[in-house]
Amino acid sequence: MATLSLVCGYVICVLIGLLGVFVLWRIADGSIDLSRLISEPNGDASMSRFQFLVFTFVVALSLFLVIVSAPNHPTFPNVPATILSLLGISGSSYLVSKGIQFSDPAGIDDRGVDVNITPVKAIVHFGQTQQFQADVPRKPGSPVKWEVIAGPGNIDAKGLYTAPAAAAAPAGGAAATTALHATIQVTSDEYPDAFDLAVVTLV
């Protein structure tokens, strides 16, 4: 019977370990998305949520360390009133904070996702290249799509714009004397409604 209990204990231990590794692995590869862990419905990060997260984790870790450090055998300890007060302060502050925020409709509206392109204007010589950068502040490093939506030139998947070798001759055969323009659009893959534009002047 003792052997069976021991075997069951090891099996449970291994299963819990595998579950833990699975969860950590899914978080690390992004399958479990924590990107809005401390975010409000409107997309802003919240200090109240962050404080709640920190204190909850500290109490959870402390509880575990206290239980396993019991001298004879693990027992559930009495939680001091000061610890409960700390959690109470944090929780109450969070609730009041949300009450203030949600009293204003603008505090709830999702502000949408921004994509910022740099530079927004560029002067490029024919045959030359210009590197553009895109930033998605809500989710840095998230994939974006680059396009030339108007004008000449090409842009690759990394935002490198290549101007045509020479100005196309306008109708009538005269050489081009005025500057040409191209418009670059970058769009977030994850948020297709979020995009930004840049204008290239070809000289």
Binding site: I27, G43, D44, S48, F50, V66, I89, I100
Partner: protein, 118 residues
């Protein structure tokens, strides 16, 4: 043969620390959204003009991390194994005061900063 209790202890401790590490790394790299973390919003102003740098959030962050690290250090150096070390009441007052300042700033931005109280 490993001691089953020790194995379980290390397993859970490793999980908790790895989880905390992942969250910290994702916070620092921006994978967890921190947009507007130190910014408050003034009600009634146009979008784009309503954000302001918020010192009350900075002080709340400092005192939150201070209280958390102080308590974890107390747990790690606990002289009475098996019991929670008490949180000094001074720290409770500090955390409570810090939260009051934060809420005060938020209240001001919501109802008074724009000169309206709708």
């Amino acid at each position: 043969m490993f001691d089953l209790q020790k194995l379980m202890e290390w397993e859970i401790l490793t999980f908790l620390l790895a989880l905390a590490g992942l969250v910290v790394v994702q916070l620092l790299t921006g994978a967890i959204n921190t947009n507007g973390f130190f910014c408050g919003r003034v009600s009634g102003r146009r979008r784009g003009e309503d954000q302001y740098f918020s010192p009350e959030r900075v002080q709340l962050l400092v005192f939150t991390l201070g209280a958390a690290s102080h308590y974890v250090s107390q747990v790690l150096t606990n002289l009475h194994p098996g019991t929670f070390p008490p949180m000094p009441e001074g720290w409770l007052a500090v955390v409570g005061g810090s939260n009051a300042i934060y809420l005060g700033g938020k209240t001001y931005a919501r109802w008074f900063a724009n000169g309206s109280s709708k």
